[in-house]
């Protein structure tokens, strides 16, 4: 059955419809939460909180909206709350550019002390998962939504209530930052100085 129809039924108090909704979307919600939080325990908490909040909000769900977009907005909000609550974690700083191109000092989790960090697996996907944890939350959210949920730019924009141009920009910056992080950690080769272009030629 279509998620929107299930959502309408669940909003009217149909528990069976709600259960079906959870079954349909739990893996994606959990995966987003996992990438956003960095560990399974927190991801489970976030996922549970998401679906409980969904249940409470379902009576207000507008069936003309796409359910998954509405759902991912809730996941995103809860992940943001989670990040704020856990912002007391030890951090290291890195300088990067924000959406407007201004240099900003980011506070990033210091993973030297994280039990979640795997030091043995050098596979790209594992390295990528660790690198994602170091992304600025706003960039991370957009990147994870794109990768996990395969959402379009416009759907991400709607879910996060931001402009589509901001989605493009954040996605690009997330990828650029990931490339830098993986270079530093030695998981991908450093960029060779370009011999094809004179200094400043493309700038």
């Amino acid at each position: 059955m279509d998620s929107n129809l299930l959502a309408v039924r669940a909003g009217a108090g149909d528990i069976a419809a709600f259960e079906e909704l959870v079954r349909l979307h739990q893996n994606q919600v959990f995966s987003i939460a996992l990438r956003m939080s960095g560990n399974r325990e927190d991801a489970l908490d976030i996922s549970q909180e998401t679906f409980v909040r969904v249940w409470r909000a379902l009576p207000q769900f507008n069936s003309e909206s796409k359910f998954s977009t509405w759902l991912y907005r809730i996941v995103s909000n809860i992940c943001t709350d989670f990040y704020r609550k856990n912002s007391r974690m030890q951090t290291v700083s890195i300088t990067t550019s924000d959406d407007e191109g201004e240099d900003t000092q980011l506070e990033l989790p210091d993973e030297k002390h994280s039990p979640e960090r795997s030091v043995e697996n050098d596979e790209l996907s594992d390295a990528l998962e660790r690198a994602i944890n170091e992304l600025k939350p706003e960039w991370k959210t957009v990147f994870v939504m794109r990768e996990i949920s395969d959402m379009s730019y416009s759907e991400i924009a709607e879910a996060l209530e931001i402009e589509e141009g901001t989605v493009k920009s954040r996605l690009f910056r997330a990828r650029r930052q990931l490339q830098e992080i993986l270079k530093i950690s030695g998981n991908i080769p450093s960029t060779r100085p370009s011999k094809d272009v004179k200094d400043g030629d493309a700038r």
Binding site: G13, R23, F30, S31, V52, L128, I132, V144, S194, A202
Partner: protein, 260 residues
């Protein structure tokens, strides 16, 4: 001259297949002379699809459903019958008796009873017995014979059960209701509370709420409040016209607004 960032953003978007033809040509031209941007594009392609969707832990759905069920029950238990009564704070100091008279057959009375605690839904026989414990004010037929459709304004119920020894902090309410003028009375016991917004609420169990739901299909016309003999609230007994009433399906709450 456009900078690397511009072309790298195009490279990023090309992975998501959101480039127009002009942008594609622009990027291709730049990539032919820029290894740094080529490398970035290769990186974007390499990481695409490298975040697999994980299976949610098995306990997730069970935990969610359990919490939702808990909330649903808690929400409904907090609700029930709500009466807007002036000086509700004083009313809670004593037990009260209420009679609901519905235009199309709803009939219910809520009588005070400090000695019948609990939230038991009684069967029809015992409910009839409870009804017989009341007398109608006008001395007409007892409740089980009262045809609401025929004489909706004469079914006034009094109660002599409550007295000054009632548990003022948590009075017990005995409610009697029937639908359609039938003799299928049921007895409901609940607890009175005054909500934050000044409403007097009768807290009911799940089963009682189902009964309420079945009985509020019609419009409530009148509520009769009969107070016990507690002196400080003795001035309140009377018949009150219903200004308005509403029923919230979600919370199974009947709200009745009375004139005073």
């Amino acid at each position: 001259m456009k900078d690397h960032e511009y072309y790298m953003e195009l490279a990023s978007r090309s992975v998501d297949e959101t480039l127009g033809d002009v942008e594609k040509d622009e990027l291709a031209e730049h990539l032919s002379v820029c290894s740094e941007c080529r490398e970035f594009l290769e990186f974007c392609r390499a990481i695409e699809g490298n975040l697999p969707i994980e299976d949610a832990p098995e306990e997730l759905i069970g935990n969610v459903l359990s919490e939702v069920q808990k909330q649903k029950t808690a929400k409904r238990k907090r609700s029930g019958l709500r009466f807007w009564l002036p000086r509700g704070g004083a009313l809670i100091a004593a037990s009260i008796a209420l009679v609901l008279v519905a235009r199309s057959g709803l009939f219910g009375s809520i009588g005070s009873s400090s000695d019948t605690g609990g939230e038991t839904l009684r069967n029809a026989e015992s409910a009839l017995f409870e009804c017989n414990a009341f007398d109608t004010l006008d001395g007409s037929a007892p409740l089980e014979n009262a045809s609401i459709a025929e004489q909706p304004n004469t079914s006034i119920v009094t109660s002599d059960m409550a007295d000054g020894e009632s548990d003022a902090a948590k009075p017990q309410i005995n409610a009697v209701a029937s639908a359609g003028g039938s003799t299928a009375f049921s007895s409901i016991e609940g607890t009175l509370a005054v909500s934050d917004d000044g409403m007097v609420e009768l807290i009911l169990s799940e089963e009682q709420l189902v009964l309420v739901e079945q009985n509020v299909g019609s419009t409530v016309e009148q509520v009769v409040v009969v107070l016990d003999s507690v002196p400080e609230v003795g001035e309140y007994p009377g018949i009150y016209s219903v200004l308005d009433s509403s029923y919230d399906i979600e919370t199974m709450t009947l709200t009745v607004y009375l004139s005073f």
